[in-house]
């Protein structure tokens, strides 16, 4: 990955002021995505990965606010950009796919019109031209009989078809980056597979970068080249999928990998990470994972734990990452990559 | 299961509770409402003590008098002291308004809980009856019942009960339908607790808050109803003073002394405001974050 990054997030911080306290949803997240790259952002629910995506688009739900950091897209900082400029970027340069297509599509508008809308506004296409483009896109994303389907309403389509519509919408203005927020979580397992393959193919065809946010390690393994693991609002490990999955260097990542059931061999017991994710209003001092960490030591309880580079493109926030490496050497992680 | 075992099991079941007691005084709307309603209630309760005159005592030498030190708000068309009448009207209107919500609350909540929890035939029956009742404009049905039963406070309670239970039933039923799918209900059922116990001890405390909040606005509605009935001559009968009859009486003299009709109305508005503030404040306080 030698080209200049398309998307460069630096030390992003997002807060949600609630009545019970301020939730520090995203604390100093940095990541880079290059052109045509597939990047995964992994973590359990509530770790801040969706918030990160929303912050990149400037679409944080109330009362969320970006309180620090930069989001550089082709060198331009989106955090300080004007609303008009942000509007231009959305859809045209950066597009987003949401988790739940049933609620993310307008229920009273035909799906064909919803796909055609972006090109009309962003690319200035006429109604007919936009319509044509919509049909074309529907074909590309594998929707059979697009002419008939275009005049359907969202609730008349299956979950898989709806998600394909969302993908078509995302592609409609030729963006350079597509942010996917748990795109397959709400779908059946068989459909999941189809959608993932579709996204991969489209990435090759259109040359877009894709950022996958998910809690499902299998999805990341299948689709991404590089990934970052998030925990409690912070990134704890980065690297290529191969490196991270075969030789994790953060106890949380290790715990995640070990807790995935392996259907090919009989295990004595399922292992899970003990404890529960922390409250983001009052996170634990020091390393946020230390209360649940089997390798925790005295110096984990206080101080800051930014990412420390291990090698090119590989980093971890854990200061005792050798313990992880040793553990892996003893009992290797088996993952279907 | 023995009672002791039941209680032990229940102690294990975690349920969502609300931090009402710690927060109520920090909600300005609620506090303002309590102050307003508290003041009016106090005045109403103390009416026999603080009213300077008998509200029904006429003084035909001194009709439609202007406010003075002797008569703070002047006198009406029969020379009765307006301030005393206001106090006594508050007394009856508030009393009937508050009491009138009790039976609909109890009946509606019970029916709603049973209908929502057990479902099927009972639910269908109750819901159908509710649909029929709701087909009538609330006010029309109450008036019709008052006509049939005759005027007087007891019949007003009856009429309001027959018509008013529906809202509570729907609210509680809706809440119970959601609550019975929650984990604490499943846990209680898995522990073998009896259904009535589950409803009363576990579901009701969590769902009843919505009904209580609604009850506040229902009291306002009932006071408006009583006052309107009074205006039409179908409510509280003379000689007992009531804000509605006062407004009706005053309408004839509106060109001469407009305050006769205006002041009782303002009293209703202020009372309504206070109760609404309490209702809103309660809704804020009782809502989980």
């Amino acid at each position: 990955m030698n080209a200049a990054p398309l998307l460069d997030v630096r030390d992003l911080r997002v807060e949600l002021p609630l009545s019970r306290g301020t939730v520090h949803a995203v604390e100093g997240v940095s990541l880079t995505v290059g052109p045509g790259e597939a990047f995964g952002l992994v973590g359990e629910s509530g770790c801040g990965k969706s918030m990160t995506l929303r912050a990149i688009m400037g679409l944080l739900p109330r009362p969320g606010q970006i309180v620090g950091g930069q989001v550089l897209f082709e060198g331009e900082d989106l955090v300080t950009a004007s609303p008009g400029r942000l509007r231009q970027i959305r859809g045209g340069s950066i597009a987003m796919i949401f988790q739940e297509p049933m609620t993310a599509l307008n229920p009273v508008m035909r799906v064909g019109d919803q796909i055609a809308e972006g090109p009309q506004v962003h690319l200035g296409l006429s109604r007919t031209a936009a319509r044509q483009r919509a049909l074309d896109l529907m074909r590309r994303v594998g929707i059979p009989d697009p002419v008939r389907r275009a005049s359907a309403y969202p609730h008349e389509l299956s979950g898989g078809l709806r998600q394909r519509i969302m993908i078509a919408i995302a592609l409609s203005c030729d963006p350079q980056v597509i942010l996917c927020d748990e795109p397959t979580t709400a779908l059946d397992v068989t459909i999941q597979d189809q959608i993932l393959k579709l996204l991969l193919n489209l990435r090759r065809e259109f040359g877009v970068s894709v950022v996958f946010v998910t809690h499902d390690l299998a999805v990341v393994a299948e689709t991404c080249e590089r990934l970052a693991v998030m925990y409690a609002g912070q990134i704890v490990e980065t690297g290529t999928v191969d490196e991270v999955f075969r030789a994790p260097r953060h106890p949380y990542t290790l715990g995640l990998l070990r807790s995935v059931p392996d259907f090919d061999s009989v295990q004595d017991s399922l292992s899970a990470i003990q404890g529960a994710p922390p409250d983001l209003v009052l996170p634990p001092p020091g390393c946020r994972f230390h209360p649940r960490c089997p390798f925790a030591q005295e110096d984990c309880i206080s101080g800051e734990f930014p990412l420390r580079p291990l090698s090119a493109g590989r980093a971890t926030a854990c200061i005792h990452s050798d313990a992880c490496a040793a553990d892996v050497a003893r009992s290797p992680v088996v993952v279907d990559v | 299961m023995t009672v002791a075992a039941d209680t032990f099991v229940e102690a294990q079941i975690a349920e969502p509770r609300h931090g009402f007691r710690t927060r109520w005084y920090r909600t300005p709307a609620f506090v303002a409402g309590v102050i307003i309603v508290g003041t009016i209630l106090t005045l109403a309760i103390l009416a026999p003590v603080i009213a300077p005159y008998d509200p029904t005592k006429q003084d035909l030498q001194n009709i439609l008098a202007k406010p003075s030190s002797a008569h703070w708000l002047g006198t009406d068309q029969l020379g009765r002291d307006v301030w005393s009448r206001m106090l006594y009207a508050a007394r009856i209107d508030l009393r009937v308004g508050f009491l009138a919500v009790l039976l609909p609350f109890v009946i509606g909540t019970t029916l709603g809980a049973v209908a929502g929890y057990y479902g099927r035939f009972g639910d269908t029956l109750v819901s159908r009856i509710a649909e029929v009742v709701v087909a009538f404009p609330f006010f029309v049905l109450v008036i019709a019942m008052v006509f049939v039963l005759g005027p007087g406070t007891r019949n007003i309670y009856l009429a309001i009960t027959v018509v008013g239970w529906v809202s509570y039933m729907r609210i509680i039923r809706g809440e119970v339908l959601v609550a019975k799918r929650q984990e604490y209900t499943l846990a209680a059922q898995a522990a073998g607790l009896s259904n009535p116990r589950i409803i009363v001890r576990h579901l009701l405390p969590n769902v009843i808050t919505q009904a209580i909040v609604f009850a506040m606005s229902d009291i306002v509605l009932d006071i408006l109803l009583i006052v309107t009935l009074g205006y039409l001559g179908l409510g509280i009968q003379p000689p007992t003073p009531d804000w509605g009859t006062m407004i009706a009486d005053g309408q004839t003299f509106i060109t001469v002394k407009w305050q006769l009709s205006t002041i009782p109305g303002v009293a209703v508005v202020i009372t309504g405001l206070g109760l609404s503030l309490i209702g809103d404040g309660l809704a804020d306080l009782l809502r989980p974050e």
Binding site: F98, P107, V108 | F136, P137, V140, Y231, V269, G272
Partner: protein, 314 residues
Amino acid sequence: MDMPAYVARRLLQMVPVVLGVTILVFFMIHLVPGDPARTMLGVHASPERVALLHKEWGLDKSLLVQYKLFMSRLIHGDLGNSLFYHVPARELIFDRLPVTLWLIGYGTGLSILIALPLAAIAASKRDAARDHVVRVVPLIGLGFPSFWVGIMLLLAFGLNMGRLFPVGGYGTGFAGHVRAMFLPALTVAIAISPILIRSLRASLLNVLESDYITTARSKGLPERHVLIRHALRNAVISTVTILGVNIGYLVGGTLVIEQVFALPGVGQLMINSIFQRDFPVVQGVTLAFAILVVIVYLITDIVHSMLDPRVRFE
């Protein structure tokens, strides 16, 4: 399922409700202990009148027979005769129906004109100053007795501002109606607005915070486009529903407002009949009101299903 099938299905669903309504209305006279006829006519009724009523209503026969009698007359549109005017109750009601319908329609229109803009202003920027200001309106407004509002309007506009608006009566001709009914309609509107503002604001907020609005914004569409092309249609749908739900309250309110402004409508008929102890008319009007509300619910449902494609496919 298409429109005519949907309408037919809704009509069918209404039948049990209408039936229930007739049963309730029928039972009104039997709610009272003792002789219903005597209670209706009052203590001083002459034995002849009581006997006449007995015969007319078949009070000596069983309840079921009486109900059948009642229903068979109802099917033929016979609501009984007014004891006071000695004409069919149906005639009296239909005579006065236009006034009440005018009041309902005019009042509803004005209420939307008042409530919708205010709710939109509040919802456009949640928790901002304008939102708080608008939210105060229902707080105070819910406590306003509708008839008192009418009297206050009379005071302000009818009596003091000269001949700007007449203080009573229905007026003649369309323009005359518009002018004469303005104050009563405004009263109706003011009475129902607090509830409307609250509900509309809540549903507008709901729409504005929906996922598909976020999607629309993520497409980079201009905010105005998002509001008009995406939010508006969904907002109109919920507005129709909210109006429909509150129509019962609105219709009931016209009753007393007709009294305030001396409008010769169905509500005034009911009040007068109550004092004249004219039971058949009271019963007839109650039934008429219920049917009216049920029809309005049906119309609301149909309009809703026309606007919302999801509804037909249940």
